[in-house]
Amino acid sequence: MADDYKGPVPVPTPETQDFWDGAKRGELRLQRCDEDDCDDVIFPARSFCPCCGSRSVSNFTASGRGKLYSYVINHRPPPGFGPEPHAIAIVELDEGPRMMTNIIDCEQTPEALVLDMPVEVAFTPITDEISLPKFRPAGG
């Protein structure tokens, strides 16, 4: 898989390193504000809470479960992603945040990609250090 990937490779920053370290281990990492009256779940990672401004936030391993929030099926894939059309999806995690992703182990058609269907995270290694969180139909 890693040898096949020709697309852009994320470069972690100090704030997002925990996310990418988790992805490499097969864990989806999020953050939560430590303030009792906030409890906001934060993604992408940063070292403070954009809801209340607190600098006290903690990393945690998310459930990896969510639902298909929206998508397009890209019929003009960029180099390295074609030639077949593929879905660019938005998944809403059970913990609240949404993230861009691809849906794998699923036909890339409007009939198979049903909004709100439950999905679960599945990590795709693209380099020795970076694994991309993708999602597949839950229980599939």
Binding site: S47, C51, Y71, R76, H86, M99, P110, L115
Partner: protein
């Protein structure tokens, strides 16, 4: 500006200076900003104006959790922040915002997360969007539309009617790129680009330009042209990452900019004779009509399908043919402004009879930013 009319109340540097390899460039902005807020006892939600250089103001605002009504990304090198202070003072005096934050952060030595333009591998978009097989705006700007359709019941045919109606306007405009009539079937049978969007629901790619000249109301009397007055203005930004919009079926930046402009103009929607809504893709007029308050949630598709925005309809929208049929050079907002000016001067090819108030609404990036200008000829 009036002397002593604006003051600096919070000021701080980053917690550390020197070598800071543990913080990315955007986090240096945030660290300094949080320290300045702590200096004067404010939270991000207390701030409604953002100016910055080196990073995009939308990136800083979203990172910090700020919903601005004024942004300034003037980037003229090391003195940018002096200009920001001056612009902020003017903005505060003018009531565009109440609490302006000017930020700087630069990983000049450690070079961590530097080059924060969208798509740079260490930017947030580079980490969390770029690896998923994107092909630019057609595969991204459109991402919320299936969600919108599920929540509101808008049909593919209604979305297609946006392109059909705008082609009717374009047919009245000799300078339009495309003038031949099209049907809903034509739209729905055109080449698939990024489901559910087909070729005729995506903007043109053309060359062009435009310019505007503004003077004081007093000076305007000295010119031979009919003055077009600025009646109301609004602006905001949300996020440079479309995947991180609060709600992908409505634009927060549209709502903030639009409501500001109407409030400033002191008008209601019934007062509006003509509307321009930047249409890079066919859903933009749908979102725009709803987020600006011309119709209710989920009503815009049926509203356009029923020819309310078409030639002869009660609310003419995108009367030059829009980005879908007139032209789209990449930063189309200038052309929307030009058409509003023509309508207010009474010189538009598809002139709306007796039009007195025009609402011109623009989008920046992919729902990243928004600006609304309301013009009048009275």
């Amino acid at each position: 500006m009036e002397p002593r009319s604006v003051a600096i109340v919070g000021a701080a540097e980053t917690t550390e200076l020197g070598r800071i390899p543990g913080l990315s460039q955007i986090q240096l902005h945030a660290d300094a900003a949080l320290n300045a807020m702590a200096d004067c006892g404010l939270k991000p939600s207390d701030i409604d104006g953002v100016a910055t250089a080196g990073e995009a103001p939308a990136g800083i605002a979203h990172y910090l959790g700020i919903t601005p009504t004024w942004v300034d990304g003037t980037s003229v090198g090391g003195c940018s922040f002096m200009l920001h202070v001056r612009h902020a003072a003017a903005a505060i005096n003018e009531g565009l915002c109440e609490v302006a934050l000017v930020t700087h952060g630069e990983s000049g030595r450690s070079r961590v997360g530097r080059g924060g333009f969208a798509g740079a591998p260490a930017s947030l978009a580079g980490q969390y969007e770029a690896p998923y097989g994107l092909s630019g705006p057609p595969s991204m700007f459109t991402l919320g539309v299936l969600r919108y359709m599920k929540e509101t019941g808008m049909t593919h045919e209604q979305l297609a009617s946006v392109s059909v109606v705008q082609r009717e306007w374009a047919a009245l405009n000799p300078r339009s790129t495309f003038k031949d009539p099209i049907t809903v079937d034509d739209v729905l049978n055109s080449r698939m680009i990024a489901y559910p969007f087909r070729l005729l629901q995506c903007c043109l790619v053309t060359d062009g330009g435009g310019a505007l000249i503004l003077v004081s109301k007093e000076r305007a009397r000295d010119f031979p042209t009919k003055p077009v007055y600025i009646l109301g203005t609004g602006e905001s930004v949300e996020t440079p990452m479309i995947s991180q919009m609060e709600d992908m079926t409505t634009s927060r930046a549209f709502r903030v900019a639009g409501s500001r402009a109407f409030e400033e103009a002191g008008i209601t929607h019934d007062d509006v004779d003509h509307v321009m809504i930047y249409d890079a893709f066919a859903h933009l007029p749908i979102y725009g009509l709803e987020d600006l308050g011309f119709v209710g949630r989920g009503e815009a598709g049926a509203f356009i399908e029923a020819r309310n925005t078409a030639p002869g309809g009660p609310l003419p929208v995108n009367t030059n043919g829009g980005g879908l049929s007139y032209m789209h050079s990449g930063m189309y907002g200038m052309y929307a402004l030009q058409e509003s000016v023509r309508q207010m001067r009474g010189t538009a090819p598809a002139q709306v009879p007796d039009a007195k108030i025009s609402v011109c609404h623009g989008v920046g990036g992919m729902f990243m930013a928004s600006g609304t200008i309301i013009m009048t000829n009275e």
